[in-house]
Amino acid sequence: MTDDIRSEILLHVNGRTHRLSVDNRRTLLDALREGMGHTGPKKGCDRGQCGACTVLLDGRRVVSCLTLAVAADGAEVTTVEGLADDGELRPLQQAFIQLDGFQCGYCTPGQLCSAIGMLAEHAAGWPSAVTADISPDGPAPELDAGEVRERMSGNLCRCGAYPSIVRAVLETASREEVTR
């Protein structure tokens, strides 16, 4: 066993495969931003405390700032740049624009990826901290504003676009959950 401080890794980002040599210290966020030119994911805190760096890793939302790039070797990564289908904005992105679900836009890539991941979690029947009855035998939790707020709370927005973001998610949830 050799203790190399660098690793050769493969990352499949937005459908394209990248072969990279990374310093093991490099986070997935920095690998995307500095190594692959994907500056969509943002560094707001670098500590998992704001959500601006959220990407989908093998379909699940994660904070890329606490994910080591080497530990993501072989994974499928979707960033905000990969959400639109061939330049066609998806319903959630359109709703963000129409409802003004952002101001400075810095948290937006994370909010969008988080919302897409969150909707998949909801579609899978996952409860949340505000789900009144978490029993698996009852009906799946309805996605109301309270549920969206709780499930999206890992994405801070200092401009205070929260109400518009929640509205955008609710207005497009059924379409986004179907398109998955």
Partner: protein, 735 residues
């Protein structure tokens, strides 16, 4: 295209011919619809696809990364910085500290005077904890971070003082840069003659702008010019500060701030530490250097709102007429730089009273230099004044709304000047109507829903409006389009969208025909996105330039460029009381067993002049109210009482409101118009924040009967002993 109802009526009050320079005021040519129409952000598609670039996103050849090292003691001197362990580390290009840093011009500062906050690495003194004391530069950010951690710094510590209060022995009168303290009438006599007197202390903690984008600067030299990409609120003013600081010809410095991830004041204080250090590093090392602050460094090294300690005395007659307002306000400053947290702004202008006295006191302590954070002065000041007004209403057993209505002044209570357009009453009445205020039982602790107590509260608010000198140039292109160039910045306000609309209206073309260039100091002198004066200042320049261009267009050859500087026009404005107004209403629930406070409803009615874009303006107002909510319930920079160190300098410790804290928020406009502005606009950036904390604190009192005079309204300040006993009998029969 817009999901919200628009408030086209906001223009209804507009007079027919107020200023001849405004093309749209020409009755033969009615205004186009660009201004007043809800339009989505022009950069929206870029923001939802991740393609717009912020300061740390610009790709750059041969880029090196700087990592800031900050002091771990609060006061003292650097004994030694041992770089031996760092020099040989992989990728390390250099260490810059006070021994080898370029010398700076110590006159550089803000309009308050020289600002030692910018004079980094000039000596061995440590004036506050978290002060940048070195920069480590390396090929990659991982290498830079590792090397910075390996730097061994030793200090000779000196005793520090961070124990701020109104009674601090070093307290001194604050700068009168924005006007003298008020002394109108005989406050003591009026208080003595009052039927009720409220005399209370209100405290607010250190609060941070905490924009989501950490400060980042990339600097390099190119053809004898210093090129900078930086996250800031005003590239022109920053460029001028850099030129002064580094003793450069202003023409040598170019600062760009293409997209900025929020500011809230934190990117307005001259020249941020990231930029000072990036310029030092590129100058020393001769290659492009990027310095990005960590989140913890953002908290510890860029300006914050100082803590305030305010005593408010209000005397009133039994019918609610105010006899006296006495507002003594102290705030923290640093010996490094002067600053004014103008907490008494509202006390000077919001209510009529026979006597008004304001006193502003600065208390120097060993902290980083405070500076403006959204709604500076007015925001903590409003919390004190509007809480005290609620206490007056409480003691008079009067509707707090009625108390405000009863003390409406006809001229500036201190200045004696006329109001340009005062629309507070409209905000109060319309807000109360929409909120359903009329059904409120004004006695506290009367509403209960299960384990929760429910209460409502309100506050009135104003915020100064105006414009500052700016210049714009407009080129009529040969293809029928117009290029509008102005050194504005868009920190999330929607400046690109709003200014395109203003230019379109002024030129009487469609916004699609406008090509707007902003965010570049080379575009000429311009005020920054600050003081709720960005859009007003820039719009004024654009409007005047457009009028000038239109007057020359006739038979001119294209392309034709016209520039306009508003300095003179602004000087012609008669002095008046010019303010935005709002009334904020809130409903909260309180669980007295846990101290948890939740804002269930928040409604603001605003008089902010003519509204350029209701969609974007509403977003700013709602966002401002959320920052006020966050201030009311969450935000508090905490210092270790023993070490003076900021101990919650991250987002896990310094809480800002998250999704789950924020209800759907109502914000709307009453018809308003600013006659002193060519476009009739005021400003919407800050007023949303100003009154919200008091409205929430007053609602918490109404729910619980307990007055919250210290922010934030933490759960331990609300929590009650033995509430279970009170509830259990009614809640359920357990047998």
């Amino acid at each position: 295209m817009n999901a919200f109802p628009t408030s086209a009526s906001a223009d209804a009050e507009r007079p027919a011919g107020h200023r001849t320079v405004t093309p749209s005021a020409d009755p033969a040519n009615p205004p186009m619809s660009a201004v007043g129409t809800a339009r989505t952000r022009v950069e929206g598609p870029g923001k939802v696809t991740g393609s717009v670039r912020y300061a740390a996103d610009e790709p750059m050849q041969d880029l090196a990364f700087g990592w800031v090292v900050t002091s771990t003691v609060t006061r003292g001197r650097i004994r030694d910085i041992d770089i031996s362990a760092v020099e040989g580390m992989p990728g390390v290009l250099g260490v810059i500290d006070h021994r080898n840093a370029p010398r700076l011009n110590l006159e550089a500062g803000s309009f308050f005077g020289p600002d030692g906050g910018m004079h980094l690495l000039q000596n061995d003194e440590v004036p506050h904890s978290g002060r940048p004391i070195a920069l480590v530069v390396a090929e990659t950010m991982e290498q830079a971070r590792s090397a910075a951690a390996a730097l061994r710094v030793t200090y000779d510590e000196e005793p520090h003082d961070v124990n701020f209060s109104l009674e601090h022995p070093a307290a001194r009168p604050a700068t009168s840069f924005f006007g003298e303290d008020a002394t109108v009438g005989d406050v003591d006599a009026e208080l003595a003659a009052s039927a009720v007197v409220v005399d209370e202390r209100y405290r607010t903690p250190e609060e941070h702008g905490a924009a989501m984008e950490p400060h980042s600067a990339t600097a390099w030299w190119e053809d004898e010019r210093l090129q900078v990409i930086d996250s800031n609120q005003g590239p022109f003013l920053v460029a001028m500060t850099v030129a002064t600081l580094f003793s450069l010809d202003p023409a040598q410095v170019r600062v760009r701030a293409p997209h900025v991830g929020g500011g809230f004041g934190s990117k307005s204080a001259g020249c941020g530490p990231q930029l000072v250090l990036a310029v030092m590093a590129t100058t020393t090392l001769g290659r492009p250097v990027r310095v990005t602050l960590t989140r913890s460094q953002v908290f510890q090294t860029v300006s914050m709102r100082p803590a305030t300690d305010q005593r408010v005395r209000i005397g009133a007659d039994a019918d609610g007429r105010l006899r006296a307002i006495d507002h003594a306000s102290a705030f923290e400053v640093s010996e490094l730089a002067d600053y004014l947290e103008n907490c008494t702004e509202l006390s000077n202008t919001l209510y009529a009273a026979s006597a008004i006295r304001t006193r502003r006191t600065a208390v120097p302590v060993d902290i980083l230099p405070p500076y403006s954070v959204r709604g500076p002065g007015a925001t903590p000041g409003s919390f004190a004044l509007e809480s005290a007004m609620d206490e007056v209403a409480e003691r008079l057993r009067m509707d707090p709304l009625e108390l405000r209505l009863r003390n409406e002044p006809t001229v500036g209570p201190v200045s004696g000047l006329p109001f340009s357009r005062r629309n507070l009453v409209a905000c109060l009445r319309e807000g109360a109507r929409r909120f359903g205020w009329v059904t409120r039982d004004h006695r506290p602790r009367t509403r209960r829903e299960g384990r929760l107590l429910v209460g409502t509260g309100m506050a009135a608010t104003s915020f100064g409006a105006g414009a500052l000198p700016s210049s714009a140039s407009i080129t009529a292109e040969t293809d029928g389009t117009f290029t509008v160039a102005i050194g504005a910045s868009d920190i999330g306000t929607g400046a690109r969208t709003a200014l395109s609309a203003v230019a379109a209206e002024a030129l009487r073309v469609d916004p699609e025909q406008i090509r707007l260039l902003i965010a570049d100091s080379d575009l000429g002198p311009a005020w920054s996105a600050g003081g709720s004066r960005g859009t007003t200042s820039w719009s004024w320049a654009i409007t005047e330039a457009a009028a000038e261009l239109r007057s020359q267009l006739g038979d001119a050859t294209l392309p034709l460029t016209v520039s306009f500087d508003t300095t003179e026009s602004l000087g012609e404005l008669p002095p008046m009381e010019r303010h935005s107004y709002s009334a904020v209403f809130s409903e909260v629930t309180v669980d007295p067993a846990t101290g948890e406070v939740r804002v269930r409803r928040l409604l603001g009615m605003f008089a902010v002049g003519r509204v350029i874009n209701p969609l974007l303006a509403r977003s700013q107002l709602v966002g401002g109210m959320i920052m006020g909510l966050s201030m009311a319930l969450h935000e508090e920079g905490v210092r270790d009482p023993a070490t003076g160190r900021h101990v919650n300098a991250d987002f896990a410790g310094y809480h800002i409101a998250a999704h789950a804290d924020v209800p759907d928020i109502e914000a709307d406009f009453v018809p308003d118009y600013e006659p002193g502005d060519p476009s009739g606009i005021k400003g919407v950036g800050e007023i949303g924040t100003v009154g919200t904390a008091a409205a929430i604190a007053n609602a918490v009192w109404h729910a619980t009967g307990l007055r919250q005079r210290t922010l934030p309204i933490r759960l331990d300040r609300v929590l009650e002993e033995r509430v279970g006993a009170e509830n259990s009998a009614t809640r359920c029969d357990l047998r």
